[in-house]
Symmetry: C2
Subunit: 492 residues, 2 copies
């Protein structure tokens, strides 16, 4: 079909992909830089892999299926191999480690950050592309490697701006519950999974709800029935005792756990690992309130084989309806020993942590925490009063930049009123005017736009609205940069 009317595509972003402006990105960039610097200080080196992996390497490909599984963005290369955009940063690490194992310094410590893609049904708050930021140690079975990852996560959240009382790392070990269930005669597979799923609901359903789900099942308020794990009463009692074993300190929790778990080889192994993690955390100066042993932590992914970690944000904020919102998990990880083995056939001990950058960024913004980045301030705008004098305006902007103040000259062709509106929409802290009067007087006029905004919205306080600090000042050329700096400093 051809026609004389030119084809005009509709300008729209694909579903599930967001355009993000400076205010939304700035916080995230700041967090990534802070966390990367902590990872570097612990001796982790950055690794960047391409966006694509072969679909079989992602484990999202069944050899006898026509197309890779749902959930990834896949396409066929011109040599007919299926490639897919990575859906996390762990699968590419496993592929990289397997490919380069012989030549890598071992243990191999790497961090990585970048976008990952999920081909899911987009919805509010469900993006199909987002940033992950991971650190992993591959090739060390030492529990100290887990402890170090935890210590690094604790330091990372602090560097990102969280106060100490705003978060907590919660640590558990898969082997504990697994050993306990094996000792109680529960077999691997469906029943164990049902137990994990029940325990994972402790926060939401409380002990009674979990007890029901461990036994026959549970009917919720709507009347819907969820079938339970069918454990015997004695087994239910020991799972609950296990889940509630958390005490005030790591060593108290360990003591309590050893009473609940004791007896199975796997449980004892898990206890010994936790004990070593606890000792190393002390050696790493990670305080009791920053990293706690919490047997109720589950972590969804099936590939964890030992210790699991979860970072919980303790900050609470109110949503628009005035309800308390808990942010919950802002990161997690654990020990996985089988990912590299997918390629090599040899178990390779590994442990890692994934930092929830987007959630943390949202939480910091919502909480107005001390760690939150300042809003994305615009530059100081130099008004283009007279087209013949652009160079004088450029010189003013240059003086500001030389003083470390972001500045621009208005480059449109609209009049004064539109230019002030432009400066306002840019969230400029100040506008600078050099008109005929100013040139004659050897001065510059500076408008304090924050003050202007505050005055016009009626939100002024005594500090802002003082006779000696009006919304507009006329400064001599020798002094004007200092006057702007004063306004910019106040507006941060």
């Amino acid at each position: 079909m051809t026609s004389d009317v030119p084809f005009r595509p509709i300008a729209r972003a694909p579903r599930g992909f967001q355009d993000r402006r400076a205010a939304a990105i700035r916080q995230e960039r700041r967090i990534l830089a802070a966390v990367a610097s902590v990872y570097e200080s612990f001796g982790f080196e950055e690794l960047e892999t391409g966006s694509f992996e072969y679909a079989d390497a992602l484990g999202k490909f069944l050899p006898d299926a026509d197309r890779p599984n749902e959930g990834v963005f896949a396409l066929q290369d011109d040599d007919e191999q299926w490639m897919a955009l990575r859906y996390d940063l762990t699968a590419p690490l496993a592929r990289f480690a397997a490919e380069n194992w012989d030549s890598l310094p071992k243990p191999f410590r790497r961090y990585a950050f970048g976008p990952v893609w999920r081909n899911e049904k987009p919805g509010p708050g469900r993006d199909r592309q987002f940033i992950q930021c991971d650190a992993d140690t591959v090739g060390s079975a030492r529990p100290q490697a887990d402890a170090e990852i935890i210590a690094m996560a604790v330091a990372g959240y602090a560097a990102a701006g969280l106060p100490q009382d705003a978060y907590q790392l919660k640590i558990n070990n898969r082997k504990l519950l697994n050993g306990l269930l094996t000792a109680a005669g529960v077999e691997d597979g469906g029943q164990k999974l049902a137990v994990l799923r029940a325990v994972d609901k402790l926060d939401r359903l409380g002990v009674e709800g979990v007890a029901a789900l461990l036994g026959a099942g549970r009917k919720d308020e709507s009347g819907a029935f969820t079938k339970g794990a069918q454990l015997a009463p004695a087994a239910i009692a020991s799972v609950l005792a296990f889940v509630e074993a958390r005490r005030d300190t790591r060593s108290e929790t360990l003591d309590r756990l050893s009473k609940v778990i004791g007896g199975s080889a796997e449980g004892d192994e898990g206890l010994a690992e936790l004990a070593q993690i606890g000792e190393a955390l002390t050696g790493l100066s990670v305080g009791e309130t920053m990293a706690v042993f919490d047997p109720s932590v589950v972590r969804g992914l099936e590939y964890y084989t030992g210790a699991v970690f979860e970072a919980e944000l303790l900050l609470q904020t109110l949503n628009e309806r005035g309800e308390t919102v808990r942010f919950g998990s802002v990161g997690g990880g654990g020990r996985y020993d089988d990912l590299v083995a997918r390629f090599t056939g040899e178990r390779t001990p590994a442990t890692g942590f994934s930092f929830g950058v987007s959630r943390l960024s949202a939480a910091l913004n919502a909480s107005g925490s001390a760690g939150a980045a300042q809003g994305a301030r615009g530059p100081v705008v130099v008004i283009a009063f007279d087209s013949a004098r652009m160079n004088e305006y450029f010189a003013l902007a240059g003086e500001l930049r030389a003083a470390g103040i972001a500045a621009e000259v208005y480059l449109g062709t609209s009049g004064m009123r539109a230019q002030m509106k432009y400066a306002d929409r840019r969230l400029a802290p100040a506008a600078v005017i050099l008109g005929d009067d100013e040139i004659a007087a050897g001065t510059v006029t500076i408008k304090d736009l924050d003050l202007g905004r505050a005055l016009s919205s009626g939100v002024t306080d005594n500090t802002a609205w003082r006779a000696d600090r009006p919304g507009q000042i006329n400064a001599p050329r020798a002094d004007w940069v200092a006057a702007v700096r004063d306004i910019v400093g106040r507006s941060r």
Copy 2:
């Protein structure tokens, strides 16, 4: 097909996608941060768009074709719309600007950096994913907007670490040659394109070669014949006079150009724009040697409509065969007025610059320029001498980190010799040993690994090899961090 043998995918990265380790990334990250900070200081705000665009929005889709054009990575979403990974950052900007035009402050100034994807045949040095870093002003037809983009590029390269004499922005205007050719009776289309192509080869073929290509054609050394643009001798003479019009200063070049071009309306428009750009560059304090008018600059992309810019690296290095290598272009841009119009039907003046991050990074590395990032140093490695003492090693590493020195404890299980080899492969500046002797003596042993490497490779000089600075020192616990800092400082 199923079998009992587990499926073991081969660990390999897809063709044309690189894994990059710390040493390769570090320089690029440093450049991006430096350039972003310059862009911010000029009042440009960051914008991040998703990796995908609808294929029609990329202009890579013919409405009556079954599949999007070659050259992009495209796939069909579950609603049957074709999406493709962006191949540059300009097309997403045009889509974003068209989509949000009414609500944007205008002119809209944004910078962006991130990966772009090209579905091309991979080869040595031809990656299918690489980083772009762009700044654009949309909605200003003022030549000052071009001048500002140029000034910002000049400042960006300086911030990235290039010395002033290592690069130059070359500026031309499409309207000049176009006006000249129109005046000479050359029609738009094939013949004009052939002229552009010929002029673009000036560097490689010299004036004589270009003259041949402007006329009947040219036979190269292999005997292959390239058909020429078939210009008449008078037209060839004026194109050559135009191409060679560059003089020492911008105003001298303008003078010369006005003599060569004068007469056509489009040429005069181009001259007037260049003159205004020149004036604004002076206002922006961009020196004559940093930004020159050079009529031989072409720039390939057809969408440029006025001023075009190219950043040329003047650094030269020797390759492995001892031959001089010129790096050439490390960025470019220009004025394009039609990209947003694809969506809206309305011409929207725009100008921008794309920073050649990868090429600049490679050039800085190859030249060993003062701006080059130091090699990716590893952390200081604390040797794990005795598993029972891990916490003491963690404490040592913690002391180093507290002093701002990256440090790690070796977390494998190998012996002393393998640990030293590990430290060496990590490019650690120093290894720290706390054994029984040291504990008894209240000291720490520090090995200067750079010195060790220099000694073992025979590459020592008198400064490094002095009796008072041996490769191994034994420092008291009170002083040891200072001793490590001394070694780390020396090794940068």
